[in-house]
């Protein structure tokens, strides 16, 4: 029965007698016809005012484009143009369908996106090239002195201490003057040429993040930097967005489900991800899926916007998410594996995880310690890669056997056709319990101590002798680690869920997280129960809130364990959904070739940014953190390092992580020295290193010859956004004013292997060049600014991890004023560079030292992940095995511009290899020749043209399997040979499809299934990662070929992190002398200082947008709870100062009940260009969010050269985390000056 919505019968007539009388009178006073009920009047005409709004909304054309900001939305927009002026934008609605019976992509396109056109003509638009006046004058003078030679002129400026100091110290203090584009480019090119000549090409660096947000604009600059031998700096690890746990567990970096797959989940946990705020255009799926019966949980310390969508809210204290996840793991292991068996889970973990694999136990001090995986080599096999073939026990025969699919099968001849997950009918034992196993006590580690240091945890596992080794399974170790008690095993076990003292029970976590034990247990049970019933459709959306911590890799590993134990990975609607940035370049192979110039020379120089900036900005000089404190009990001595800088140097010389600048000498001169002695440059270098005549630059980062000299920043706001330790950047790298309040570490705590120089260098960079369309916190400190085109003024491509489509940027107007596209600027720079190089550089030979690479045979260089340092006599220095791989690369500097604009010949010869799959590109190159045309003359004679941005777009699309069906099929065939599994059919349905740039301009184009990624779009399926692994038995790219819970590298053992454990946030008061959290003094209240991602400011839009500022408080703000505000006498909207050892921030307080006590939020990237007053503390302009942060490098992130723990660019590297920080907040004088 439907309720009667009409209510009481409406009586005719209006408001009363008088009114009606007036209206009846009105009939005679007005033209037009009044209706009988006196409610309406009908007139003819009188619509002259229509012309006004018709004119307002009339336009000349509509152009499709999108926003190249680090937003995972990638919404397609209609850009309206009227009289050659961009007037407004509106949402496109022609996205590909996600399939019947599910919600579509639309509505998408948020108010922040709709506010973008403001930038085109905004007051902060950079319209002309700018050079700081003092530099420009000096350069002009020097050029006259040098007889008109710009390179010599640059030398006269940059190498003259007095002149150098004059312009370096002026950085950040205004003084820009307009320069002609010729002169600005001349200065930049001269600096590049001179730096290569004097210091070496690896002293030149480029920083430009998130290629997916505008691939061609990224690629063109990276191509220039790479072709001249410069260093491209990573961004993903630097942002701390990179989950180190992803390579650790999956052997792959951030392959995640598209947002439409949330709809497929039966149970969804939003864990540190605020979907409606940071994933606005996609959040609707989460809301809609609830109507389908999905249960939604939010885990967040504050009452965040997403919490109100959730069925339940678990308010874990900041940084304690790992404890909650460990307790949930405890419940799942106990109830779904030990108390009763869950066939789906058991079947899954046996086939797709490392849980049944055997681990050797070594005896030490009366305990057994878990060590390495038992391998075929331990069984006496001498087959190819035997030390990388892990071993299972056959349940039927009780004999060990070597299954297919481990790393040992991946690269050699013998492994062909056997790198797969086919167990060939055998059933591996998951646990050794029963069947004659002995119970042995194992030494595990717990870190849930007040100071965060490790304590021994003694728990027993069932173990057996196999081939002379005492072994147990990963599963048995995991049960012990999680504290899941089984009968007959010795050790300290929890008495039950309500035991608060023994990790990792629900009651134990309650004391840490404040989440009720019963709730934690219940949610864990529901999560697993749903997974068991739906065969893996439980999902965790995880975000930056849990990912920017020092120990985030552990937090993530404990999350991922929940998913792998319950069989959720590789299942639509299940698994991890980690969204932190628009990181996925779907047409990966094409972009890689272009961006790193792999079509002309290999290898490119690619650097992990965190150690780079840690050393370059001298943050290491202030970092008193002793890595030994982080180690497992008894391991600090074995580690034998007194500082993080020592470990960085060690990681570099062992070839684990890349290191640029590499040596304390110009790598070009190094080759020349060797050639002068008629020696092989590589042998000569190894000899010089061994003899100590040559050192790594990272062993003496403050020596002038080891400084980075030229840094180019484009599509990026390095100093306003990701520059953790902003004040250290400003002092040591930039040379401007800074507000560092910390002291350098005392002599007894300094690095032992890294040289300390006094005084610390100020302003290491000779040139900071930036390209941008708006004035930012970075351009303010740059020497030269080139005005860039906006996203409505260029051709480019966009793709994301959250949507399986690729679409175009198109220019609505040509770049106005003197702006140009990044593409044009770098072409100009390359041309000017080549002209100067003709005189000053010519052809050179450059020695490139590269780290041991992921997805390559380098993974097999050190069995068992032994940490052996040749410098300390533990092994011989062998390039590519125990030290970096050394390669001599020809650099023809005169032809850089010609190489930039032509697709080089190496592609035809070597093809392109992505994640171990090699693509034959000959057909695609031939196609490109016809599509783009061919270059005539010069170095690129006869090669496909890359002269225009559209050509580059076509090249990216033609050279990738995701956009070129025949390549995808061919790549899968390559993979079929290796795996022996059927794969090519996944792409064959679209083999003839080739997405062209015109297609992407017409509408967003769905991409193809390709071996570049682990998921499948075949048959219109929603993208979910690892479904190829699960359904086609293709191994993960790990040691065992399965998803890992256990990591056996030496350093993982040294730090007690072989398995997921809980480690609390760093104790800043103990480690760095900050006040205790929550303490109140006359200086203010001490709070946890978090910098979460905000609603706009970078992730969708920038903070300086006037339209958006008008809707907010219009300047920098810090959120605090009413309780904390009361402690420090702060009222809402008061000016406050936040101070710690790293610097000072001035902002207004937002006092809100939404905030938990003890925590302050300063949202990410609030620009220093808007309303930043002078600080009382420093008497300098109050800083930005990163003024209070400083890098702390987790040693285990420096591991490399072993199985999945091998370096690849933006795949593995130390994170630039910043969440563990604290700050003192106080009310300041309300009178502010600027």
């Amino acid at each position: 029965m439907t309720p009667d919505r009409r209510g009481p019968a409406a009586t005719p007539g209006l408001d009363g007698e008088v009114t009606e009388a007036l209206l009846r009178l009105g009939r005679h006073l007005r033209r037009g016809e009044t209706s009988a009920d006196l409610r309406t009047i009908i007139e003819v005409g009188g619509r002259e005012a229509d012309a006004f709004y018709r004119d307002r909304w009339s336009h000349d054309k509509v152009v499709r484009s999108t926003h190249g900001v680090n937003c995972t939305g990638s919404c397609s927009w209609k850009v309206y143009v009227k009289d050659d002026i961009i007037t407004w934008e509106a949402q496109q609605t022609d996205y590909p369908s996600v399939g019947p019976d599910r919600p579509e992509y639309e509505p998408r396109g948020c108010p922040r996106g709709a506010a973008f056109s403001w930038y085109t003509y905004s007051p902060t638009r950079v319209r002309y090239p700018y050079v700081r006046g003092v530099l420009l004058q000096m350069f002009r003078t020097a050029k006259r002195e040098a007889g008109g030679d710009p390179v010599e002129a640059w030398s006269l400026v940059a190498d003259n201490p007095k002149r150098r100091a004059a312009y370096v110290s002026a950085r950040g203090k205004g003084g820009f003057v307009r320069a002609s584009w010729r002169e600005a480019i001349e200065i930049a090119a001269a600096a590049h040429v001179h730096t290569i000549r004097r210091w070496g090409p690896d002293r030149i660096a480029g920083f430009s993040p998130i290629p997916a947000m505008s691939m061609v604009s990224h690629a063109v600059g990276a191509r220039f930097i790479s072709l001249i031998g410069g260093v491209m700096l990573s961004f993903y690890d630097w942002f701390a967005d990179l989950p180190v746990a992803s390579p650790q567990v999956f052997g792959d970096q951030t392959d995640v489900p598209e947002s439409a797959d949330w709809w497929d989940a039966g149970y969804l946990i939003m864990w540190g991800a605020n979907l409606p705020v940071t994933r606005t255009p996609d959040a609707h799926w989460m809301a809609e899926a609830r109507y389908r019966g999905q249960k939604v949980i939010a885990v967040s310390p504050d009452y965040a916007d997403n919490v109100k969508f959730a069925d339940e809210w678990l308010h874990a204290q900041p940084g304690t998410d790992g404890a909650l996840a460990m307790a949930m793991g405890h419940v799942i292991l106990n109830e779904f594996f030990v108390q009763r068996e869950t066939p789906y889970f058991t079947g899954y973990v046996k086939r797709y995880t490392d849980l049944p694999f055997l681990i050797k136990l070594d005896e030490r001090d009366g305990y057994f310690v878990p060590r390495k995986f038992l391998t075929a080599a331990d069984l006496g096999s001498e087959s190819e890669g035997a030390a990388f073939k892990t071993v299972l026990l056959d349940a039927a025969t009780d004999e060990p056997f070597v299954p297919n699919g481990s790393l040992g099968f991946r690269f050699g001849q013998q492994g062909e056709g056997r790198w797969n997950l086919d167990l060939e009918g055998r059933d591996p034992l998951l646990t050794l319990a029963g069947g004659g196993a002995e119970a042995v006590p194992v030494r595990l580690v717990r870190f849930d101590t007040p100071d965060g240091t490790g304590r021994v945890l003694r728990r027993g596992v069932p173990a057996r002798q196999v081939a002379g080794h005492l072994v147990t399974t990963v599963f048995d170790l995991l049960l012990a680690n999680y504290g899941v008690r089984r009968e007959g095993l010795p050790g300290d076990w929890p008495s039950g869920y309500d035991d608060p003292n023994h990790p990792y029970t629900p009651a134990w976590q309650e004391a840490i997280t404040s989440v009720p034990a019963a709730a934690a247990a219940r949610i864990a049970r529901e999560f697993a129960d749903n997974a068991a019933r739906t065969r893996g459709r439980s999902m965790i959306v995880m975000g930056a809130g849990t990912n920017h911590w020092f120990h985030s890799d552990l937090i993530y590993r404990s999350f991922l364990a929940l998913l792998t134990l319950t069989g959720c990975q590789g299942v639509n609607g299940g698994g991890w959904a980690h969204y932190v940035g628009q990181e996925k370049v779907r047409p990966l192979t094409g972009w890689t070739q272009l961006a790193f110039g792999l079509d002309w020379s290999r290898p490119p120089r690619q650097m992990v940014s965190t150690p780079f900036f840690y050393l370059a900005t001298d943050q290491w000089r202030y970092d008193a953190l002793d890595p030994g404190i982080l180690a497992a009990p008894g391991e600090a001595e074995r580690l034998d390092a007194s500082s993080t800088a020592d470990l960085i140097a060690r990681s570099a010389r062992m070839g684990w992580m890349p290191s640029y600048p590499t040596f304390d000498r110009n790598p070009i001169e190094l080759v020349e020295e060797a050639e002068a002695r008629d020696e092989d440059p590589i042998a000569y270098t190894v000899g010089a290193l061994r003899d100590g005549k040559l050192r790594f630059a990272c062993e003496d980062p403050d020596a002038p010859e080891n400084w980075p000299r030229v840094l180019t920043v484009w599509r990026s706001n390095l100093l306003g956004s990701s520059g953790k330790g902003n004040e250290y950047f400003l002092r040591h790298l930039i040379g401007g004013d800074s507000a560092i309040r910390d002291e350098e570490v005392p002599a007894d705590r300094r690095p032992r292997e890294v040289t300390w120089r006094e005084p610390a260098p100020i302003g290491k960079l000779d040139l900071l060049l930036s390209l941008d369309f708006r004035m930012t916190s970075t351009t303010l400190f740059s020497d030269v600014i080139l005005p860039a085109a906006t996203w409505y003024e260029k051709h480019d491509l966009s793709s994301t991890d959250m949507h399986p489509f690729v679409h175009a940027f198109s220019p609505a107007i040509p770049p106005p004023w003197q702006t140009r596209t990044d593409f044009d600027w770098f072409q100009l720079l390359a041309r000017a560079f080549s002209d100067m190089a003709r005189v000053h550089l010519g052809k050179r030979r450059d020695l490139v030292a590269g780290a041991l690479m992921h997805d390559s045979p380098d993974e097999l260089s050190v069995p068992g992940g032994a940490a052996r340092d040749w410098k300390r006599g533990q092994c011989e220095p062998i390039p590519g095995v125990t030290m970096p791989r050394l390669t001599v690369v020809e650099r023809d500097y005169e032809t850089v511009a010609e190489r930039m604009t032509a697709l080089g010949p190496l592609l035809d010869r070597l093809g392109a290899t992505t994640k171990g799959t090699t693509f034959d590109l000959t057909a695609a190159v031939t196609q490109l020749k016809m599509k783009n045309g061919v270059i005539r003359g010069g170095a690129g004679d006869g090669r496909p043209s890359l002269l225009e941005d559209v050509h580059a777009c076509e090249a990216i699309l033609a050279l990738s399997g995701t956009t070129n069906g025949s390549l995808a099929v061919q790549g899968f065939r390559d993979l079929e040979r290796r795996t022996g599994m059927r794969l090519a059919d996944l792409a064959e349905e679209r083999e003839g499809d080739h997405i062209t740039f015109a297609d992407t301009q017409a509408r967003p184009m769905p991409v193809l299934t390709s071996p570049e990624w682990s998921g499948s779009e075949s048959g219109g399926r929603r993208y979910s990662p690892f479904v190829i692994n699960v359904e086609r038995l293709k191994p993960w790219h790990t040691l065992t070929g399965r998803q890992h819970h256990y990591l056996d590298h030496d350093w993982m053992a040294a730090f007690g992190e072989q398995m997921p454990v809980f480690r609390p946030p760093l104790n800043m008061s103990l480690l760095f002398g900050e006040p205790q959290l929550g303490s109140v003094t006359e200086l203010g209240v001490t709070l946890r200082y978090l910098t979460p991602h905000s609603k706009w400011s970078i992730h969708s839009e920038y903070q300086d947008n006037l339209l958006m500022l008008t809707l907010s408080r219009g300047g920098p703000t810090i959120w605090i709870s009413p309780a904390d505000a009361a402690k420090a006498g702060i009222a809402d909207n008061d000016w406050i100062e936040a101070v710690n050892r790293n610097g000072v921030v001035v902002a207004r307080a937002i006092v809100s009940h939404r905030m938990p006590q003890g925590t302050a939020y300063m949202y990410h990237v609030q620009e220093r260009v808007v309303d930043v007053p002078v600080a009382e503390t420093s008497r300098k302009r109050g800083g930005i969010h990163n003024s209070l942060t400083r890098l702390a490098i987790k040693p285990t992130h420096l591991i490399g050269g072993y199985a999945q723990l091998s370096f690849a660019f933006n795949y593995l590297g130390p994170t630039g985390n910043q969440r563990d920080e604290v700050t003192i907040i106080r009310r300041r004088s309300q009178e502010v000056t600027y």
Binding site: T40, A49, R54
Partner: protein, 246 residues
């Protein structure tokens, strides 16, 4: 001087008043507004605005009777001098007091309520001075010139002078001998009229009187034409659709 003040000033003011409104209507149609501040503050406004507006409407009626209607006419209607004076002083005083207190509330509100003050332009401030000046001087004229000082019969001098302006036969000498306070009130009024078209006071001509007797909903159908534009030659409507029956 006499001619300037009582002949030139009025005519110039009238020309500006009329011409200014025409100009403003043609060139600033979308600026033709009261720039209402009700959104920022409504409590004081609810008190001050009706007080002021009804007060000034009463005053307008008073002025019509006192200045435009000749003394002969009122006498012919049987309203003698004493009655006229009692009415003029009492009603004039009440309306003047309403207007002035309403204005005081509005000015107080405009100065003390932050958002309202922020929305106040220089133009507004000048307008307030002129408006307040004219009202205060008018009230002074009523009180001092009429009640206290034994009475001055402006209907002998000011009124005929005012009417004479419209007969295009200005009699400046009538005004030259009027008391200062009347002169000042008259001049302040002419200056106000000259400023009128350029201020928010234009809303006088947009008073929503029609709402009293108009239905809420108006449907405006298109006239014969193409949208809102005139039909260019050759673009006449083909009339292939059946027209809706009215």
């Amino acid at each position: 001087m006499k001619t300037f003040l009582w002949v030139i000033v009025p005519y110039v003011s009238i020309v500006i008043f009329v011409g200014g409104h025409v100009w403003r209507y043609r060139y600033d149609k979308f600026g033709w507004t009261t720039r209402s501040s009700q959104l920022y503050e409504s409590r004081l406004l609810r008190l001050g605005s009706p007080l002021f507006h009804y007060g000034i409407l009463f005053a307008l009626v008073g002025h019509v009777i006192g200045i435009l209607v000749p003394q002969r006419a009122t006498e012919a209607a049987g309203i003698g001098d004493p009655i006229y004076h009692v009415l003029a002083i009492s009603l004039g005083g009440v309306s003047g007091f309403m207007t002035l207190s309403g204005l005081a509330i509005l000015v107080y509100r405009r100065r003390t309520v932050g958002p309202v003050f922020s929305a106040t332009t220089v133009n507004d401030k000048v307008m307030y001075v002129l408006l307040a000046g004219a009202i205060v001087l008018g009230l002074l004229a009523t009180v001092f010139g009429n009640a206290l000082a034994g009475g001055y019969d402006y209907r002998e001098s000011v009124s005929p002078w005012f009417r004479s302006i419209f007969y295009l036969h200005p009699r400046a000498d009538l005004m030259a001998h009027a008391p200062l306070v009347f002169q000042a009130h008259a001049i302040s009024a002419w200056v106000l009229y000259a400023a009128w078209p350029f201020t928010r006071l234009v809303h006088l001509f947009s008073a929503p009187i029609g709402y009293l007797y108009r239905p809420y909903i108006i449907y405006r159908s298109r006239p014969q034409g193409l949208g809102a534009r005139p039909i260019p030659r050759g673009w006449e409507r083909a009339d292939i659709r059946p027209r809706r029956q009215g």
